[in-house]
Structures are given as C-alpha cells and as structure tokens.
C-alpha cells in the first residue's frame, strides 16, 4: 500500500489536472460538489457526501450529442463527440462508487450507451473511505462498506496526515506508477489505523441499521405484491413533486431528449429527467399514465427497490448514501419505506 502526504496533495492535484480533468469535492458558498480542480480551489475532502453525486462527470445533467442545420430542404446532421478526454474522479465515497456501478448496469449492458461508455472508460476513479458516517448513512443495508469501494480504480483512506493509496485496477496501477514520485510506502501502523477506521465506520452504520430496522432483505419480493398497497396513499401526500431526490441520487439515470433550435440550426441534447415530474410520463395525447404524485412516488421507490433489482440480479438501485433523506424538504425517507415494507413482510 502507498500513501500520499496531505501536504503533497496540491502537487498531486496539479499533476492529475495536467493529465486530464480532475474532478474533486470543491467548496463554493458552503456547497460542496465535484467540480474541475483549478489552482487555489477550495478542496473539501472532509465533507461526507457532496450535494450532487459524482455521476455528473460521467453522466452530465445536460449533454449535447448532435447538431443539425437546414438549408432549404437539405438537412445536415453532425454527431457531437461526447468524450472530453481523460479525467479523474478524486474522493468518490464508496456509496457513490456503488452508484456508478448501478449506472454501469443500465448504460453498459446491451445495448451499450456509446456516450456513457466512452466517458466511463476515459475516467479513473479514486475513492475515499468514510471514517465518520452520518446518521442518515445506510449503505450497509445494501451490503456496502462505508470504508471501502472495491470497484474503484484506487482506494484512498484518510488517516490524519496522509492519505493511504491502494490501486485496485489496471487503471489504478497505471495511475499509481505515473505519480510514483509523489507517493511513499505506507507503514504497517498506518495500514492498521485505516483498517480500524474501516471497521469502526462499518460498525457504526451497521448498528444504526439495526437500530432503525433498515433491512432490505426480502424488500424486493415484498414490493412485487405491493403495487396497490396503502403505503403509497399515505406517503405521497406530503410530496411536493420537486426533483431533488432524483437529481441528487447517485443511481437515478433517467433522461429526456430535447432540441434547442435557432431558426435553421440547432442541437439535440439529453438531460436528466425526474420521475417526480408530471411531465415525465405525459403523453403527447395529453394522457398521463402516472396522473398523480402517488403514482410517481410509488414509481421511484418501486424502481429503486423492486424493478431494478428484478432486472439486475437483485442489485438494489439505492446505495444508502442518505442524500434524499437529508435533502427532501418534507422528509420523505426511503429508509422508512424499507422499514415499513420489511415490516409488512415479517408481519405477513
């Protein structure tokens, strides 16, 4: 295992930024989000979760992929290259890394989404283990470990003065050797400290999960029969119908396609869409198969906890990052759904 001195991080960032775009948690007006690093940027590696998940780097909110031009009756179409080149995602939390894996299933399975795929390949992800999970963290419910993201290219741990550094993939190895001069070998003591932190973080989340009853076991099956359950009649009523929960979710991946036109020319882009919006399922005919917020709220939970796992071998489309739990203005809380559905199951 390697390590990098925190005082050398600035050099490391400069090096990485020289080799591509370096996205990492930057603080601006008190809001921490993944953004391209520039010299002097305020890096915040302490913040547990960025407001928006790092998926933006791979699956941007708005992405133009086609330009067109008309000249009389002639139409010219030009594909817009999606890939900006190399990039690094630095400081991705294990839950967010798991979120990227959820997106991978959607976009990389056949038929492969070319734009996503090329972006995904161009990136190297350096994850950062959580030492001090928040009260709203429930990654352990999905068998994730807050301290470690096995799917990252490089795993990092913050142990005080240094970040421990462990390459996990080929890409990770390659990156490691390219910044060799900035790294040192980690001491056994440091490795032990990291290990302890990992265990303690995992224990904290697991304890909370036990305490609150955040157990997803059987939830997928239970929900199969719960399309008409009373639960939805209660839950949706306070929903404001905003898109916060979906846009800040590391696993949400729905998008819309729209044109921006200027007379004889224009472009086609895709952009995030939210199943919380009335327009999401609005047909051109005026018919809406999800006519009220009830159907929309149900859809979100059903998708995350039932439909998606049914499609992808039991993998839940929730990683327990807790963003929606924290950000929902009216506290619609997925953990309550898990608890209740779990309860329904055990009671039946």
């Amino acid at each position: 295992m390697k390590k990098v001195q925190k005082e050398k991080l600035e050099d490391l960032f400069e090096r990485l930024a020289g080799d591509g775009v370096l996205y990492l948690p930057l603080e601006e007006d008190g809001v921490v989000n993944f953004a391209p690093w520039k010299k002097g940027a305020r890096v915040n590696l302490e913040a547990l979760n960025t407001v928006l998940p790092p998926k933006r780097a791979i699956f941007p909110q708005t992405e133009t992929y086609m330009r067109f031009e008309t000249d009389g009756k002639k139409l010219q179409i030009e594909q817009v290259e999606p890939v900006e080149g190399n990039y690094f995602l630095f400081g991705v939390r294990p839950c967010d890394m798991a979120g990227i894996k959820v997106l991978d299933k959607v976009f990389l399975d056949e038929p492969e989404d070319d734009i996503y795929s090329r972006r995904r390949q161009a990136g190297t992800i350096l994850s950062l283990g959580c030492n001090d999970p928040h009260v709203s963290c429930f990654c352990s419910a999905f068998d994730l470990e807050p301290g470690f993201a096995p799917d990252a290219d490089v795993a990092l741990w913050d142990v005080g003065e240094v970040l421990l550094w462990k390459p996990l993939s080929e890409k990770g190895e390659k990156l490691t050797s390219s910044v060799e001069d900035l790294l040192e070998d980690a001491s056994a003591e440091e490795e032990r400290a990291a290990e302890e932190q990992r265990n303690s973080a995992a224990a904290t989340v697991a304890a909370a999960a036990r305490e609150h009853g955040w157990n997803v076991e059987g939830v997928e099956e239970a929900l199969q029969d719960m399309f008409e359950a009373e639960l939805w009649d209660k839950l949706y009523r306070r929903c404001l119908g905003c898109g916060i929960c979906t846009y800040i979710c590391p696993t949400c991946h729905c998008f819309d396609v729209e044109d921006f036109g200027k007379w004889q020319e224009g472009e086609r882009f895709r952009c995030w869409d939210s199943c919380m919006f009335e327009e999401f399922t609005l047909h051109a005919s005026g018919e809406n198969p999800r006519p009220t917020q009830k159907e929309r709220v149900r859809q979100r939970f059903m998708h995350k906890l039932c439909y998606y796992p049914s499609n992808f071998e039991g993998l839940y489309a929730c990683v327990g990052c807790g963003r929606c739990v924290r950000q929902c203005p009216v506290s619609i809380d997925i953990t309550q759904v898990i608890k209740e559905v779990g309860g329904v199951k055990s009671g039946s």
């Binding site: 008309t70 000249d71 009389g72 200027k262 007379w263 004889q264 006519p291 009220t292």
Partner: protein
C-alpha cells in the same frame, strides 16, 4: 411544412430606392417555410393585389407575408386580397420595410440587411399564425344619448329622424343645457332661446325619443351593439302625467334656495321648474331643501295641486335598458375661482362670471333682461371684462384655451353697448382668437363700432372702493399700469368638464385627458369615436367648443351611431384575448387588469383522474375585449393569449429578429 408566400413591394422608388429588392427576394427564398418570393412595383395596386391573389392559388400558399409599407396603412388591403383567394385574412403578415426601413436608412446595404431581417420576422410570425374568425354580434337597434344639452338634443333628433329609438337621459330636471342659459349667440346675435326651444320641443314630442330628465346612468354593461344600461330615474315627486304645469305649487312653496339656472343670482323654490320654457314643463322637488323632507312638515304643494299630481311618496326608479350605441354629450362646467383671489370673486356682487352676465342680460333672467348691477340694481357704466381667467394658465388653472371666451366677450361688449350706449367696455386679454366664420368681423365690430377698449395685459387686482370696483392691470403694449373704476367686472372663467365626468368615464370605460375631458379615438381621423367601440362623443365634454361645433359633432356622432344601428349584426375583431381553460388556474388577475370588464369567471366541470371536479376559470367576452393583452401578461401560465398577437407569434418574432 408551411407554404408561405413573400411579396415584396418596391413602392416605386420609395422602397426600391434604398433597399435592394432583388436581394430581399433572394434571401426570402432561403427562409424555411417560404415557398414563393416575388416582387412588384406597387403591391397595393390592383395589379399587385391580383398578383397576390393569383399566386396564392397557383402556388397553393397557406400564409402570406407582404413586405411593403406600415401595416397601419395597408394591412386591410392585403388581408382582403388574401381573402379573395380564399385564404383566411389573418394569415397575412406585413413587414414594414418602408416607414421603418427604406425611409429612415440611407445606406443601401444596411437597409437591405434590415429589410431581410424584417421579412424573416414577419415570416416567423406568419408561420405561427392561425385562422381567425369574426363573431357576429346582434345589434340592439336603439341608442342612448347622455346629456340633454344642445349636442345631446341634436344627436337624439338625428338618430330619431333616421328611424331609430333614442333614450335621452338628462341629469337635471329639464333638457336644454348651457345653451338655455344664454341670451344671444355670437356672431349672429340670434336669440339663444328662440333657436333652442323649438329643438327642445321637437325632442320631447318626437315619437322615437324617450326623455328621461332628472335621471342618471348608474351602471353600464355590455359592448358595442349590446349595452345594458341601468338608469336611475330620480323621484320627481310630481306625476308627469297628471301635472298641468299651472305653477301653483311653486308659487306657494315656502322654501327658497339659489337657482342653479340663474347661476345663483336669484332664488328658486324647493319645488320648481328651472325656467319657464323647461321641457318637460313639470316641476321637481329638491329633496335637500324641501321642508317636508327636511323637517317633515309642510306638504303645501300637495295641498294646492288641483291635479293631485304631487306625490311625496314617489321613489327612485331603476330602469334597465338595452342599446346598440351610446352618445355621450355631458357638457361643461365653469371653473371654480377659489384659486384666483385677486379678482375677489364671490366677495362682491358686481364681480361676476361671464355665465352670470348671460343671465343678467337675458330677458328671462332675474332682471328681465335689464342689465343692472347686482349690488344696487343700477345700470353699469364701466364694465371690465377679463379674459382667460383660468384658461391658458398652467400654474393655477388650465393650460388649454377655452376657445369660446374671446367671442362671447366680444358679444358681451356689443350687448352692453346696445343696452347702454353711454357705457364703456374694457377687455383685458392675452390674445384675441377669432378663428371661425364671421368671427373676426364680429370682433372688429365690437372694437370699431362699439368702442370696446381692448387692453392687452393681465389684471392684477380687483377691489371695491366706495360703490365702485377698482381694477388694476397692466397694458403690456404700452407697458403702463392701468387703473379702471368699474361698475362691474366680468370674468371669463375657463370651461371645464362636468364634475362627474370621471365617473361617466369609468362607467363607459372612456379615456380622459388630464383635465377629465373625454378623449376621442384619434385626434384627427376619429374625432367623435372613443376607444370604447359603440360609444361616441358630442359637445364640450370632449373639449371646449362653441354651439355650431357641438352641433356638428353631435350630428357626426349620430351618424356614427346610425352606422351601428342600421346593421342587424356586427362583426367583431377576432384579434382579442382567449382563454386556454386547461391552463387557467382561476386566479382571475386578468379581471383586475382588464380595462373593459371583458373578463368574467365561470365554473367548468372536468374529469380529473376519473372524477368530475368543478373549478373556476376566466372567460373572455370577445365582443367586449379590445385585444390590448394586459391580461395575457398578468396571466402567469399563459392561459390568456391574444389572437393575432399570440405568445407563440411574438416569441417566434423575437427569435427571428435576433438572428
């Protein structure tokens, strides 16, 4: 894809001299949706219009853009041309490449570039145009005339003579108005009563005219062709049918108050007929001053009336009437002179207004036509006339010229001389304005034959000294201060609208100027129409006027009203607001900003998630709406849209104009 035809006009050299027509044609052809672009020397000519018509048919065009002069000029022309080819006229848009382009830009390249942009913008609007259809509005073929002065009487007679029923509503107990108060009229010196009274009688006896005196309009609803008006017929307390006009009642009535008709120079009774020739010649009880109504004792009039016409139990009546057109002829008032302390008006009986002077020289007036000083009932010798009291006076009075004062003052000097050849008239003036037939001649007669002394300058002070009035002024021509010992001072106070003009304006949604004169639809070309369709103006309510002008305008109004009444139905302008009920939230802010009360609320039922629910939405009365679009901006979701100037159209124009 649309098939839009673009027709570019040279307007001779007017456009072609600055704009490269060929280039505009060439560029127009490149615009998406344009199927045809052509040019011609004069698009508005018959050949040009035929070309549009034929091309629409040959090229199977579904929209037309004419790049020519201002749409304010020829939009109707080109709409007709398109209509002749079977195209809905509202699918035509104009690009103004003359007034807004070729005439104001000198550089050909720049002008051509702008012309192309304007064509592109018009094409963008045209492509978002939809067919619009006028509505047929049935016409209630009756007219309302508001105000029974000479203008109102004339308008009523003209309309009635044409065969349509007219209701003539007058606020005071009699028709006749200001003209009835006058003695002689300038410049001919006809006796005012002699020419007015027959008209009053005509109006009252005309089978098509219904007189509503002592009545006021309380509420107006509806729109051109279909006004519904509530008239308050105030209790007269005298039965018009039974009254014989004997006059016993006001002979015996014990209560006295200042006579409005005689400008307060004498008193009348609480039950009264304003003047002997009043029409109708039926007394009215003035409730505020009647002993019975104030103190609950008396009823003398009731006792003396042999015809038993006095009915003290009478109550106001509210009548709801329908009309197709309205003529407003509410007349004028005289400016109050409180602000003009230097004249001491109201402080001395011999300081009077010109209207009071009219009463004093009038044979039916308080002095029986003998001009006497109110203070001592003696003939005056020196009379000072002051012009422009409150007129042409921005600071204390009105900035405008009251127009008639120069002439009536000249008349007054002539009348003075007629009555008292030894007398002397002095006239203080700013300018003497005699624009009118025989006006200047009349004025010269006053100066030359009657020796009226005209002093150019202003009066600084009028104050009593002994039994005389001392008038201090400046003769600005000689630069000297003038002091005149006068027996009487006559002030030509400014003409102002009636105090209730703003209320009338509100009822009928008329515009008013800063002084509350009603505004005409166009100062030159629509001088009797208002911005409220079907409402017309006559007389001094629109601005200072003399009698012939008021009469002419009244006849103009009448003929405009007849233009409506002679039709069974009217076609509405389809370029008005329209509600998309699916977007309307029912906040009804549109109602608040609508100047025409054209929007009302209605409850609709709709199916939401399988259940029928009721909700409130706005509804536009297309016949009342004038299409200003104030509602469309107050409407946040854009449920309210203006046909012909729709959100979609303007947005398309903005996008196209910015390219």
């Amino acid at each position: 894809m649309r098939r839009i035809g673009v027709f570019i006009c040279w307007c001779g050299a007017n456009i072609a001299g600055t704009v490269d027509i060929e280039k505009v044609v060439e560029e127009s052809k490149k615009i998406p949706g344009v199927a045809y672009a052509g040019e011609y020397r004069y698009m508005c000519s018959e050949i040009g219009q035929d070309m549009i018509r034929d091309t629409i048919i040959e090229q199977n065009l579904d929209r037309v853009v004419v790049a020519a002069c201002s749409p304010r000029m020829h939009e109707p022309t080109f709409r007709r041309a398109a209509e002749s080819a079977g195209l809905n006229p509202y699918l035509v848009q104009m690009a103004n490449i003359r007034e807004h382009c070729s005439w104001v830009h000198k550089d050909e390249e720049e002008a051509t570039r702008k012309a192309v942009a304007l064509v592109r913008t018009a094409v963008a609007k045209a492509s978002r145009s939809v067919e619009l259809f006028s509505q047929e509005i049935p016409v209630e073929r009756r007219a309302l005339v508001l105000g029974g002065g000479i203008a109102g009487i004339q308008a009523a007679l003209d309309i009635a003579d044409a065969g349509y029923e007219v209701d003539l509503v007058e606020k005071s107990p009699t028709i006749g108005g200001r003209m009835a108060q006058l003695d002689k009229t300038f410049p001919t010196l006809d006796c005012s009563a002699c020419i007015l009274t027959p008209k009053m009688v005509d109006a009252s006896s005309h089978p098509n005219i219904n007189l509503f005196t002592w009545s006021e309009v309380e509420q107006v609803e509806g729109y051109v062709g279909n006004f519904t008006v509530t008239i308050r017929k105030k209790a007269r307390f005298v039965d018009e049918e039974k009254c014989t006009g004997c006059g016993d009642c006001f002979e015996k009535c014990p209560s006295k108050v200042d006579s409005e008709f005689d400008e307060g120079l004498v008193q009348r009774k609480a039950i009264y007929v304003p003047f002997p020739q009043a029409v109708p010649n039926v007394p009215v009880i003035d409730k505020e001053n009647c002993r019975w109504f104030v103190k609950e004792k008396c009823r003398v009039c009731e006792k003396v009336c042999e015809a038993e016409a006095v009915d003290l139990e009478q109550e106001d009546e509210l009548l709801e009437k329908r009309y197709g057109a309205v003529v407003v002829a509410t007349g004028f008032d005289v400016l109050g002179l409180e602000e003009f302390g230097e004249f001491n008006y109201g402080k001395h009986p011999d300081i009077i207004t010109s209207l009071e002077f009219e009463r004093l020289v009038n044979a039916s007036g308080p002095t029986g036509g003998k001009l006497l000083r109110p203070s001592n009932q003696e003939p005056p010798r020196n009379v000072v006339f002051v012009q422009c009291v409150g007129s042409r006076d921005k600071s204390r009075g009105k900035p405008y010229c009251s127009k008639i004062c120069c002439m009536y003052t000249a008349k007054h000097t002539v009348l003075l001389k007629e009555k008292y050849p030894q007398s002397q008239a002095y006239v203080f003036y700013i300018d003497v304005r005699t624009g009118g037939k025989d006006f200047e001649e009349f004025h010269r007669r006053a100066v030359e034959e009657n020796d009226a002394i005209y002093l150019r300058g202003q009066v600084g002070k009028v104050f009593p000294e002994g039994d005389k009035l001392l008038v201090e002024g400046v003769d600005s021509l000689s630069g000297k201060t003038v002091q005149i010992e006068a027996d009487m001072v006559v002030l030509a106070a400014a003409m102002v609208p009636r105090t209730d003009a703003p209320e009338i304006a509100r009822l009928l949604t008329l515009g008013t100027d800063a002084h509350s004169f009603f505004t005409e639809a166009h100062p030159k070309l629509r001088p009797v129409e208002t911005h409220s369709a079907g409402v017309f103006l006559a007389g001094a309510c629109q601005g200072p006027k003399d009698i012939p002008e008021a009469v002419a305008q009244a006849s103009g109004s009448a003929s405009k009203a007849l233009g409506i009444l002679s039709k069974e139905t009217l076609l509405s302008d389809p370029c008005v607001s329209k509600v998309d009920e699916s977007l309307c939230t029912g906040c009804l802010m549109c109602i608040d900003v609508c100047p025409y009360h054209a929007i009302t609320e209605k409850t609709i039922e709709e199916k939401v998630h399988g259940e029928v629910v009721k909700r409130v939405v706005a509804e536009v009365n297309e016949a009342v709406c004038q299409g200003c679009g104030a509602c469309s901006v107050a409407c946040r979701p854009g449920a309210m849209n203006v046909k012909g100037f729709s959100n979609e159209q303007i947005l398309a124009e903005v996008d196209a104009v910015c390219l």
